[in-house]
């Protein structure tokens, strides 16, 4: 099966620009593969390296060591990003744009032809319940509406790989259902998605496989069910069953 993302012993060390020089090892030899057609979850405690993993994959920062391939090509080949959609956890869109203008603008930067971006953008706004506010400046949008717009933006180029960093934060129940539908559709089309989330019930429900990132390492990579089997039931006060119980030991170690 073809791979949409490959991380081979990837390390990322952030070095501060100012004196005194400090180093933060965000990734420490991560090795994992994400296959075509799967919904892949990335979970772990805060500051574990989840977002850095995605940033390396999307060429927002360079790996210090190791090899990363995106959609079968090297990271320097940015043309593969034309087939990637990305939702950032706290995106600040230009608030003077309307939703229609934003989708057209971001579509153009993803090399989507103008007429297609307009047509696709209209359909996405309709689908995400933003059509009646399509021409308003987005500074008047609520957080939930902006999250829906962020998802629409990520889909404007009909990506084969959708990368979602905390996409459901601020979303209401209807929007969460829409997100479920979108992920289901991507999977049915044979496309892939990477989902970073602290909402473990969502990861459990939506993902085929999951990576647990802890201290910059992939502490576990495999099907969600396998993770639960490996760890067994937890009596942790953090755990409320399911994936949460399975992950409790990783979180407790991070807290220790």
């Amino acid at each position: 099966m073809a791979l949409v993302a490959e991380f081979d012993n990837v390390t990322k060390v952030y070095r501060s620009a100012s004196w005194p020089r400090r180093e933060v090892r965000a990734l420490n030899g991560v090795t994992l593969e994400i296959k075509t057609g799967e919904i892949f979850g990335v979970v772990g405690p805060n500051r574990a390296g989840k977002t850095t993993l995605i940033k390396v994959l999307l060429s927002m920062c360079r790996p210090t060591d190791g090899r990363v391939r995106r959609l079968g090509g090297p990271l320097w080949d940015r043309s593969t990003l034309a087939r990637v959609g990305y939702v950032h956890e706290s995106q600040a869109f230009p608030n003077y744009l309307s939703a229609t203008q934003l989708l057209e603008y971001y579509g153009a930067l993803a090399f989507v032809p103008g007429p297609l971006a307009r047509r696709r953008g209209g359909a996405l706004l309709e689908r995400f319940g933003l059509a009646d506010r399509a021409h308003e400046p987005i500074r008047r949008f609520s957080k939930g509406m902006l999250q829906r717009l962020a998802l629409a933006q990520a889909l404007i180029n009909d990506p084969v790989l959708l990368v979602l960093d905390e996409p459901s934060e601020g979303m209401d129940l209807v929007a969460r259902r829409l997100l479920d539908d979108v992920l289901g559709e991507r999977k049915a089309l044979g496309h892939s998605a990477i989902l970073i989330s602290h909402a473990l019930d969502e990861v459990e429900r939506r993902c085929d496989r999951v990576a647990v990132i802890r201290d910059g390492r992939a502490a576990f990579v495999g099907p969600v069910a396998e993770l639960a089997t490996e760890q067994g039931a937890s009596d942790s006060p953090f755990a409320r069953g399911g994936l949460e119980s399975a992950l409790a030991p990783y979180y407790e170690e991070a807290l220790a």
Binding site: M60, F93, A110
Partner: protein, 336 residues
């Protein structure tokens, strides 16, 4: 990335810049300034002037306050004309006596508009008002999704830079063409040299906005961009002015007046940095400013000492290009 994709990216970033300027109110302020200047010019008229020289001839006339100008007999016998007439502004409410003829008055008006309003006040204000565009654009939360697009980082940065230049070009064109048309329609004098100021204004702005761009990439702070680019502008202006002062003064002083080391160092810094005083000098020269104001430097004397406006502009553009390359490389190496 292909050339057409690069151009398309630039067009979209320019469009975004215009939208940002409109939403931030900068577009309306600059439009209001251009509109006001055009109305002022449309309210101008010249009455009662006499031609002081035929085209191509050196003017031969008496100023109106000369003692002989009030002696009709002397004037009649000598055939010398006296400057007369007035420039009326605000539909005749403000009246300024002419020291020369109508062509000279139009040059004077254009010089005030191009050199004073646009090239000094306008340039500084535009530099301040647009200084926030790039730090806001490069902010982590704002640019993250754009960095995940297939367009390279350099094209995002240079596209935004070109967008701001396009915005300044549009406003400079509106200001200069609007006032040129108004003056031409009211006075019948169409001075094409005034239109060159559009190019000079944009070049002048481009040099210093490149410094603002580098500061934005390094610090992502509007305050640093505003103060940094203005301090740099003052520094470059001082070096430019100082170097010419040294060249002109060295003719008047003994050969030992300045050490060769100081001259060499001043020359080096002069050629490396952008040259705002040269831009002002060129602007003044093209609008025949020496007929109205005392000039900082004698253009002919500078030219005789090896000064070349072509080399001056070329080296300033080279500086701009170098700063943009450094900015783009720095952004490409930045971890977000």
């Amino acid at each position: 990335m292909t050339l057409s994709a690069t151009l398309r990216t630039f067009v979209w970033l320019a469009r975004d810049t215009f939208r940002q300027a409109r939403a931030g109110g900068i577009l309306w302020i600059l439009l209001a300034i251009s509109g006001l200047a055009t109305v002022v010019c449309a309210s101008a008229s010249i009455v009662g002037d006499v031609p002081l020289a035929a085209p191509g001839e050196t003017p031969d006339f008496l100023p109106r306050n000369d003692r002989d100008a009030h002696d009709p007999a002397k004037l009649k016998s000598s055939g010398v004309v006296v400057a007369s007439g007035e420039l009326r502004l605000a539909f005749g409410m403000i009246r300024i006596p002419l020291n020369r003829d109508s062509h000279s008055a139009v040059h004077f008006l254009e010089l005030i508009l191009a050199g004073g309003v646009a090239d000094t006040l306008g340039l500084l204000l535009t530099l301040i008002w647009t200084a926030g565009f790039l730090p806001g654009f490069l902010d982590t939360r704002a640019i993250t999704v754009l960095l995940a697009k297939p367009v390279p980082r350099w094209s995002l940065l240079i596209g935004k830079y070109v967008g701001v230049l396009a915005f300044v070009f549009a406003n400079a064109t509106l200001f200069v063409v609007g006032t040129w048309l108004a003056i031409g329609l009211r006075t019948g004098i169409w001075d094409a040299a005034y239109l060159y100021t559009i190019v000079l204004l944009v070049l002048h702005f481009a040099m210093f906005f490149s410094v603002s761009t580098l500061l934005a990439v390094c610090f992502r702070s509007t305050v640093v961009c505003v103060f940094g680019s203005i301090v740099f502008w003052l520094l470059a202006w001082s070096i430019n002015y100082g170097r010419h002062a040294l060249v002109v003064a060295s003719d008047a002083l003994s050969p030992d007046g300045f050490s060769s080391g100081l001259s060499w160092l001043t020359d080096l810094v002069y050629w490396v940095l952008p040259k705002p005083a040269d831009m002002s000098l060129l602007l003044s020269h093209s609008l025949s400013a020496d007929a109205h104001f005392g000039q900082l430097f004698d253009f002919a004397k500078l030219s005789a000492s090896g000064f070349s406006i072509t080399l001056s502009i070329a080296s300033s553009l080279l500086f701009t290009l170098a700063v943009l390359v450094v900015s783009a490389r720095r952004l490409a190496a930045t971890d977000y």
